[in-house]
Amino acid sequence: MKRKSGLVVAGLVAAFPAAAQGAVSAEYKWLTFLVFGVIIALTMFVTYLAARRVKSTAQFYAAGRSVTGIQNGWAIAGDYLSAASFLGIAGLISLYGYDGFMYSVGWLVAYITVLLVIAEPCRNIGKYTLGDILAFRNDPKTAKTLAAVSTITVSIFYLTAQMVGGGVLVKTLIGIDYEVSVVAVGVLMLAYVVFGGMVATTWVQIIKAVLLVSASLLLVFFTWMPYGFSLPGFLQAAVDNPGIQAQVAKLLGDPATAMSAQELGQRFLEPGLYLKNPIDQISLGLALVFGTAGMPHILMRFFTVPTAKDARTSVLWAMGIIGGFYVLTLFLGLGAAMNVGSATISGIDAGGNMAAPLLAQYIGGGADSILGNLFLAFVAAVAFATIVAVVAGLVLASASAMSHDLWVGVIKGAKATQAQEVRAARISSVIVGVIAIVIGILAKGQNVAHLVALAFAVAASSNLPAVLLTLYWKRCNTRGIALGMIVGAASAIGLVLVSPNMTYPNAVRTTNEPIVAARTTSIDAANAEMLADPARRAEIEARVVKLTAERAAAQAKIDAVAGQTRSLVGLEAPLIGLKNPGILSIPLGFLCVIFGSLLMREKRSEDMWEELYVRQNTGLHAEAASAH
């Protein structure tokens, strides 16, 4: 198997003359479409069954509260494991080793907060939305307006990242035009949400999670098998791998020259190749650990189960699936680095997103084999299903905020019939879906990866302080949550706007101009070499093609900021060094809720305290499962 890998890598490079063709070669595209077709047909059938059931608001928003704990656990995993987790983390591990694995831990620990302080109370006192929880003790119209604005803001950030990432991904995998794939994701997702509401969304998420876990198990089985399923054996193979050693040498630069091959390989299993700033890491960790519990599309999943015990069971299952999946990701990432090679992976996509799909193709037998292409097609289809399922959850959460909180709660003063509200929810879904498609197309080519982290930071700084203190602190009131939510969200967004995440034209030039100059020198040298030694023409030409592509990429970055000197908010350089705002904005959000609440006493919020606290702990008078 080892000896074959060199050949396969050469084959892969030959198969991708330009990434524009897509990873799946033209003769095997029918396979991808076949797998896509089967998955779409299955989810559409489920939607058809669901659509006949969805008549009431409880069905549309909460699947009639009749989802079991285990089903909800799978659905939470399906809602949460985005393409960024599936492809992104495997990619990070394949390029940077240990740091990629460390990055995945926070996404799991986040569910402890969800389990301990959010899941059961939300199930016991909640109805359909974040707004319902905040409106329990606080002024309903203010609370619902704030919750709706916050839900839509957080969801749009997350949606944009998903739509843009999804469009790029489908293009890289199968070569379909970016715009076409954005529209396809949008239309498919709308079909699930509009016709099948939460019932269909839940099943689409379950199907996607099962597919994702099976695909990963299959890949890990074949990746790990040659090492007799021994962990030290597998890790030792990674340390001994020349490709991994070369990748570490490239990342470390000069200090690498003093290191032996074994030391370089071992370095891949040690921290510090990707994550350089510990404070930024802690800040991101805070946003994940407190933000997940404030994510409207995650909160919403707890309204779908019949009892608090089922809410607990669903988090346990979700944690088992999500954590198990991240452990598998370590094998996927290292396996891809060993078998496909870090250089090949980053050559096709700088972020490493193609690591898992390329590993699938390798395991099946490579780019020329039918099995290899079937595996690749399967992974590509799973990635597509992943994007659609996550986007459906987000659109449903925003549409519910729009129809249930804003339209019924604020505009209609809670007076609307079930039929009217379900209709409003469907119209809202279409509005949000169209917004998502339009933003997805407008944001083409933008770097939106940091929007995921921003969505979590806003949820952690705005939603979580408001929900947590409403649930657990008697003095919390409308003024407090208003101040906290506004300041928390504004500070998280504001800090990112002045952070190094934004594009600073001067910095882009200082980084890329030397690259252009260096590549030009190398190209000239290579051309001279070619004249001197015509026998090596083919080899040198290949090098020139690569160098020219690198020069063009750097030049494109310079051209994109031509004539500009300032960032979006008019800065020449970032004001802060921090990329993740959580460490500042989360405490600020909490402090503002506390400060605002202490400013003045509010009778209703204190009068309602005993009812809220008893209900959230006992489940007395909780919304029951609807009969059907």
Partner: protein, 104 residues
């Protein structure tokens, strides 16, 4: 909306017991889990030599510690769910039985 006497239940000894036992248990677990999680980025960032220490072939302390994060997270979740299913649910059910009658 309902004529349940919430203040009465809130002051009831059984509810007070539920509240006391639940909050102590819950916030202790929460504190342990958050503290244990942040040992990972802090350790990797400020004690890299410790994380590089080889323990078992190529397995170093950092990898073992990262794996332990999964086990601790799953462990805490399992302990909480077991405890809640056994003790808190029973207390909540007693309260429900006692006061459900007061529904309008």
């Amino acid at each position: 909306m309902s004529n349940t006497d919430w203040a009465h239940i809130h002051a009831h000894p059984k509810f007070k017991e539920l509240h006391r036992r639940k909050s102590r248990f819950l916030w202790t677990l929460m504190a342990i889990s958050v503290a244990y999680y942040f040992l990972l980025p802090v350790g990797a960032g400020y004690f890299p030599e410790l994380f590089k220490q080889k323990l078992w072939g190529p397995m170093n302390f950092g990898l073992v510690f990262a794996f332990s994060e999964f086990l601790v997270a799953w462990g805490i979740a399992a302990i909480y769910a077991r405890h809640a299913n056994r003790n808190f649910d029973a207390l909540a059910a007693e309260l429900q039985k006692q006061f459900e009658g007061s529904t309008p």
